[in-house]
Amino acid sequence: LTNGTHISGEDLALHALQALTAEESAAVQAHVAECEVCRAELAAAMGDLALVALSAKSQPLPKGARDRFLTRVAKDAKQAETHPKLAKIIPFNPAAVGKVSVWAPRVAVAALLIIAAGLSWEVMHLDMRLRQEAATLRRMAEENAKAQAVVDALTAPAAQRVLLTSVKTPPSPSGRAVYLPSTGALVFQGNNLASLPADKTYELWVIPANGSAPIPAGLFRPDTAGNASVVMPELPRGVPAKAFGVTVEKASGSDTPTAPILLAGAAPAAGE
């Protein structure tokens, strides 16, 4: 029966069908008790048989069978009430017992397999719904956390509020950055910005107070009214800013700012 170290799929299927001899079944049973791989394959075969059971066509009851059955049940119940302590002696008939013993387990197994298939189907359905609900919940939590971070950055006493203006006159383009160094939260709003050719973009920079290289803080293009904003770009936490700047870069952005700096603003110390 064994195929190397495992039992072949054919024999496992026959075992599930109870179509092996007693000796073969015992050997399979002993192996399956120790082997996880074969146990999984046997479970899959049992699942297949549950499907086979579903293919059985139901037959309508003969006319009057239901009434005869209910009458018989009622009659037996009445007899049981009148002779509650008398146990009925059933004569032993080996032939009849043999027939029943052949069919009864198979019918019971088929019924159990049908129930198992139904339950598996329902569990799968519920599991799918649970995953969908969990995904929705996770998405809502993320959105809520982001909104909360925006509110915190705008209202925190420690936030650095900077007004960025053009380094040249006339001072029409301007920008305002609100930055919370402890969380890296940054909200920038620009106004009166000139439109750019398609291959160019504005880029916002955080100039760290410790003198390290400027950190790119997001690309943006103004709308037709010259307004633009950068909300919550990905920034490292705990980097106090000395200043903020805006440059014009190529459309894909740049790792280092390209002169000239169009807008710049020095950051006051946190909480000022």
């Binding site: 072949s8 799929g9 054919e10 024999d11 299927a13 026959l14 069908l17 109870q18 179509a19 092996l20 001899t21 899959a44 075969a45 699942g47 297949d48 048989l49 499907l51 086979v52 059971a53 579903l54 293919s55 059985a56 052949v102 069919w103 198979r106 088929a110 298939a117 139904g118 189907w121 329902e122 359905h125």
Partner: protein
């Protein structure tokens, strides 16, 4: 007057899904090669052992095993598709 929700005696959703599954299984069974269908019926519904089936059909024991296994695998794939 209060609104009262009465429990349904049957779960229509589950019942419908079960009926769909039965339809699918029957369709897949119908598509199996006739000799595979016959062997599954003999083994499952008539409770015959593989040696009894081999003796009755005249097929080799290995052929009986392979056909039953193939039928079950086709059924599994067909239902999962």
């Amino acid at each position: 007057v209060e609104d009262v929700v009465l429990p349904a005696s049957t779960d229509l959703s589950a019942e419908t899904e079960r009926n769909l599954m039965i339809e699918k299984v029957r369709a897949v069974m119908k598509e199996l090669p006739p000799e595979q269908q016959r062997l599954v019926e003999l083994a499952f519904f008539e409770g015959m052992s593989h040696t009894e089936i081999a003796a009755m059909t005249g097929d080799a024991l290995g052929t009986v095993k392979t056909r039953i296994r193939s039928a079950l695998m086709s059924l599994r794939k067909g239902v999962q598709a």
